[in-house]
Every structure is written in structure tokens, then in C-alpha cells.
Assembly symmetry: C3
Homo-oligomer: 315 residues x 3
Amino acid sequence: MKNFLNVHDVEDIHALVDGALLCKQNPRADHELGKGKTLGLIFMNPSLRTRLSTQKAGRNLGMDVMVMNFSGEGWALETEEGVIMNGDKAEHIKEAAAVIGAYCDIIGLRSFPSLKDRKSDYTDHVINEFVRYAGVPIVNLESATVHPCQSLADVLTIEETKEAGKPKVVLTWVPHPRPLPQSVGNSFAEWINRAGYEFVIANPEGYDLSGDFTGNAAVVHEPEEAYAGADYIYAKNWSSYEQYGQVLSQDEKWMVDERKMNLTNNAKFMHCLPVRRNVVVSDAVIDSENSVVIREAANREFAAQAVLKQILSHG
Amino acid sequence: MKNFLNVHDVEDIHALVDGALLCKQNPRADHELGKGKTLGLIFMNPSLRTRLSTQKAGRNLGMDVMVMNFSGEGWALETEEGVIMNGDKAEHIKEAAAVIGAYCDIIGLRSFPSLKDRKSDYTDHVINEFVRYAGVPIVNLESATVHPCQSLADVLTIEETKEAGKPKVVLTWVPHPRPLPQSVGNSFAEWINRAGYEFVIANPEGYDLSGDFTGNAAVVHEPEEAYAGADYIYAKNWSSYEQYGQVLSQDEKWMVDERKMNLTNNAKFMHCLPVRRNVVVSDAVIDSENSVVIREAANREFAAQAVLKQILSHG
Amino acid sequence: MKNFLNVHDVEDIHALVDGALLCKQNPRADHELGKGKTLGLIFMNPSLRTRLSTQKAGRNLGMDVMVMNFSGEGWALETEEGVIMNGDKAEHIKEAAAVIGAYCDIIGLRSFPSLKDRKSDYTDHVINEFVRYAGVPIVNLESATVHPCQSLADVLTIEETKEAGKPKVVLTWVPHPRPLPQSVGNSFAEWINRAGYEFVIANPEGYDLSGDFTGNAAVVHEPEEAYAGADYIYAKNWSSYEQYGQVLSQDEKWMVDERKMNLTNNAKFMHCLPVRRNVVVSDAVIDSENSVVIREAANREFAAQAVLKQILSHG
């Protein structure tokens, strides 16, 4: 694996999940592998789980880790070609990526979408410019379109907890007061498609994700239909892809609650966090025994470690 | 010691001070103790001494250290139960604490009071929620009510420099332009009470600290009375506990100056820093040979190390 | 070398460049030298290259590195003597420097000028107060007047790439929309003077740097005159020293472009970065084979390492 940008960089996702499980059994087993190597974690946006879990994963492998927040510690980057840079952006991404690449053996990058311009966001320009100019492997810590470290942790969590060989997994849109990226939804869809589970996506009209990510997944526009018989309810809000970046609905009927959970096959509740209680999911559901959100977050460490290990091993 | 939240977590404060002195004599003696363990330092508020000294202490013990600032790098946390989280708080402290606990072996947490609602602040809710949900030992890096790492460094500094077996220690309120927490004052009071020194607290009317922390300490409302014969003058501003969070006085007569220091038994001057010169203390006093403020700050490293060492050893 | 504040702290700059080249050949050769030592990097202002390269350099030498941003993570420092600190500055630099010095074996400090008061800025008060009060060696990560880590990397880059024994080096002022410090220009001038190259400075009228830094360098006020026969074009904007901190010109004729580069002896293009494309330099020039800006930035790691190594060795 040269870069870890999205599911297409992974030859065999089940092998990668197995690698993550090995890391979980003995996190420091490969502590010599990364000795003398430096992991740079670059955040254009806030982060808790990704920040700490990836840092920990790098340290488990013996890597040095340098963390930088571009806003606050640095400055805004220009990403367009041929611009006369006389505005508020002090550096072009070409130079920034190349320079960071000079100091790091692997770079992890978080860069959210604008949610203003769909065409531009969906080129995933920022992370691709890092790939082009940094000269070292890039790990996607959530880009404009996908969040593959999260999705790997999600599949790992399902593999650890599933009872059926081919569980029914539901990705359900949920309400949220602010416009959020589609990245977690997109990414979850392409990973679950690859994992070979039964997969249904439920969201209101106007909230269909791009078919480039959802592929052949069933899409329904009423929650009850999807919940019936589900083994996993994976909740996530996203703003509209069709009416790009808009909040079209905050309809409370989409919140994950006990009534709808009772329609399922004793389903596990999943969410990538941070989660807004009693907006996205009721207290009763997230505090129930069927909630695996903390396990899912804890698995971020081993997902990141498996990715870094594969890059270090085959790089 | 499971957690280090306040003086009540310490069985024998003099034994802990002795432990800190051992750390100071040879800071890297226990460099193997923390190998493969991770210390997470979580700051809800700014910090200089606590940030650097605790980081250093962790590294002295061979720990990996991850530092995170919630404001700027993360987002605001909801701390109330049962709230519909549709405002500006993106995550509940329950999830945040549990997730950070998943990546860390010990968590240090700084979280200041609101100074708006005394009843709420004095439950020390934020740090107690971390204790409840993180699943790993918590070290208090200043909570709403106390700052025990500071107090341990203070007692260490007194033990290193005292001439009398039972010195007279004075905690004096001093002026400050902004409303500050009572935490350093509260904490100093409960540690000095435990240390067995002669102890007097001097503050203007309306500025009495809570008796839960001051216990049987003498409280006087004129500075001169307290300074007479003192071996240590420990200066600190706090906002009113009675008229909660208010600045009732900025009376300059309470500033520590040479005139009042001349009433003492050649007292040492102490302050936890940061300190406003010529508001809290005159240049002449803080620049004098009797000022031990830098030693006191330097001792923060060894205080934190003794605490971490005890948690690592007996955890 | 006790401190690394400016060129005058360096006995033999060519020996230091040779030291940096050795670090570059084998960055981890001296990994035992810094074991158990702590490097504190204190940023009063934003930074990318300096932040990451100095951190990496410290780690190459086996040092622990603690990074702190004063704005955001800390608070504003008072730097004047005898002030009644009842404004927005919570701590005096005397205490801050001494305390940081208590936790660190070497301190790197970045502190930009105000560009309001020339006399005050040119005392380089902030870094000199750290020298005075920290009690440990100080490395200048760009002060009000100079940026010696950058200049060392610049000379290293010239030594690596030069074809003539005594190249003609041109420092040219370039346009920029905002007022910038003179520090990089000042520093480059004093290092190139010491390096013994042919040296010409080109800038508009009103933009002459202080003679304290430029010494006997030729200063011309038209770009073409300087470019003729040059082996290196080093571009940098600075605000006026004479009309202190003012932006007197944004004349595009000073931008580095192909037309002027054609007047040179196939000159290399240099800039310290971050650089505004098509304001400071045209895309065609910075993207050409003659541009060495990324090499120059990469060399920051080895420049910093050579400095730290010398301080650790002879400290």
C-alpha cells in the first residue's frame, strides 16, 4: 500500500481487518518497525479521536509523531493553480506539501470540504495535491469525500461483534442542526459494499449520497423499512449531496430511538462520534448495552496502526 | 493512589513530598517504569507551567505524552445529563472521557470553573465525569475547586526551604483586575492544614474561602496581623466565594510589598504564577532573594512526577 | 556555542555548514547525544518549517521535544520593566523565561517584531530577556531582527549547489500585500557577508535595510542591474526600515520573473517560504529546475540539527 486515501488503496479489506486485530492483541509487538521514522499529522480542521488514535498508533509502532494544526499554528493554504496570491492565503499547497514531506516519512492529513462547491470538493483536491507534491505516503484522516480510517475501524467493530456470517447493516441518516460533510457516509458505504454484508441506506428524499460511493446498496426513504431485521444501525448525519451542502430536514422521526431499535434483530448501535445526544440518538439507545460506540472509537487506534504498519512494511 | 483529584487521595502527604524529592535528585531514575504507557494531557483552558512540567514529568518516567487543547483543536463539551444537544456543544463529556480513556493509561485534565454558578462549579462535575467514564486514573491539573499538583509543589518548596520545624505560613489574598477561581487558595488551604504548619489566611471581608477547604485555619481581615512573624507569605488572588465570582475589591493595600514583608520573620515569598507584577506583588519583593517563585514552579515537574509514579506503581 | 542568536555566535560559519552536511548524510548518527535532554520550542507567532524542522532535528539527536504556542495555549507576556500589570498581559517575561528554562535544556524561541516601534524592535528585547532569565541556551527561531536558522540553511543550500567558488548572490526585495519583518533580509545579509560571496542587494528607494546588517554589501535600486550575471536570486519582501514598518511599494516590476531571470548566469532561485506565487515570484520561475526552495526548506532540519548538536557538545 503506497497511500491510504480510500477503499481502493486496499487490496483485501478483510486481511487489513485481521491486521488491525493483531495490533489490538499486542499493540507494541512491532515497536521496532517504525524506529527512526517520523509520522506528521496535519490538521486543517478540529479532531479528537483521529488526533489521539493516530498519534498513539504511530507511537505503538515506535514512530516519532509531529502534530500540526494549520489554523492557529500556521496559515491558510492556496490550493488553486495560477492564482495571483495577494489575498489572505500565505502559502501554496504545492510548497507546503513538499516541505512537510521533506521532514516526514508518512503524512496523515485531515481536510474537510467547503460544502459550497460540490464539483470542487469532490475532486478531493487538497489530499490529492499532498499525494502529488509531498513525495511520501499519505494517510487520509478524513478528506472532502471520505474517512477511510473510520470505515476500517467500523468494519473491524462489526467483525468483532457480529453474530451472523452476513449481518444486515443499515446506514441511517439522522438529524443535525448544522451542515456536515458526506464523507463518513460515503466511506462507510464503499467499505460495507466491499465487506460483503447485506446493506441498506435510509435517508430522507433529497439526501441520497452519490452513487459513486453507494454502488448497488439499497436506498430507502423511510426509516422503519430499513430497521426491520437489522443487525447494525449505523447513524450519521450528512448535508444534502443533491442540493449541495444544504440542511433540508431536521425531522425528529429520523433520530435513533428505542421504538425503531425494537424493529431490529437486537441491533448494535454505531456512530463515529462526536454525537449529539437526543438529536442524533436518544440517551436510552446510546447508553444501552447494544451501543458499541466506545469500542468503535477505541478501534480507531488499531485501524490506524494496521494502515501505518502496512505502509511501513511494504513502503 | 487510584486518582489524584485532591488532598484526600493522598494517604501521607509527607511521604509524597519525599517521593518528589527523590524524583528531583534523579529525574530519570524510573525511566523504565512508564515505558509503553501513555499520558494524555487534556486542556480545557490555557496553561504554561502545568502543560510543560507534567509533560516533562511523564517523559522522565519514560511515558509517551499526548497533549490536546479542547478549544482550538477540538470543540465544546456538553456536561449536563439528558440535554437535547442542538446548540453549540458537539460532544457529550461521557463519550469524550471514555474515548480518551481508551487511548491513554493516565489522563491529566484541566478544567476551570464558570464562576457563574457556585453550586454547579463546586460539584467539580467535569473532572468527576472523567473519573466516572474514562476508566483510567485521572490527575487533576486544576479543576473548578482545587489545584493539587500546585499544592504538592508548594509543600515541597516549603519543606526544602523552611528553617523552623513548624513554620508560620500565611495565605494572603491579593488584588487582581479580573475574576479568578478559588482553586489555588482552596487547595493550598487543605494541603497546609494537612502538612501541620501554623496557618493563617488573610483576605478582605467578603473574600472568605469555603470552610470545606480552610477547616480550622485562622482567618483575618487585615494583612498586617497575618504578616507579623510569618515564615512564608503565599499570595494569590481569588474572586469572592460568598458573592460568587465577583471582584469586590482591588484595594492596593493588599499587594505584597516591602513594608509588609518587613513585618515578617524574614519570610519567603511564594506565588503559583503567572503573577501580575506591581498589582499582586511589588517588583522589589518578587526580585528579592526571599522570593522562591521560580523554585516553586520548577518543583511542579517533580510534584507531577511523584504523583504519576505512585499511580504507575500501585495502579 | 552558548546561544545561537545571530551570526556573531558562530565562530566559523563554514565549519557549521560542514556540520550540517554531516547531519544530512546521517541524521541519526548522534541519536545518543541528546538522550535525556529536553528541547522546548516556544512560538509567539505561527510557523510551519521552523516548527517541524527544529522538532525533527531535536528528535534526530534523541532529545525530547515540547512545543508550546503562547497565543492560544498560553497568554500575552509583559516585556517592559517596572510596569503595573493591570492590563491584558498576565505574566512577565522574566518569570516565563525562568520557568520554561527550569523544564528545558535548550529553548528555541520565535518572537516577531511589532513593526510599530523600530527602536524597541531593534533591541531584540524578547529573545534577549530569555537569554537573561532562562538560564539555558537559547536558539533563535526568528526574532524581531534576524532569522539565523534560516540563513544557515540558505548558506548550506548555496554550498551544496554552487558552481563557482565565489558565486554572485543577489538578495532582491519583492512585493507583498502586507508589512513583513526585515529579519530574513537582515540575517541573510550578515551571513552572506561572512560567507565571502559576491553580494548585491536590490530594493526600491526607501527599502534599504539597516547598515548594521548589510555592512559593505552593494545596494542598488533597480532590479536589472543586480540580476546581471547573478548565480543566485534570493527573493524576500520586507517592510520599510526607514519609514518603519510601512508598505511603500507593491511595484510588480520587482516580482521575480523569467524576463529578469534571463539576465542572470542561469541563477538558482531561492526563497525562505512561505511564498506568494505570482506576487513574489512567477509560477514559471518557482516551478523551474533552477528553483531550490524545497531543498532550502529541507535543509532547515540539518541547519537546526548542527546548531543543537554544537550546543549539546560544547554546552
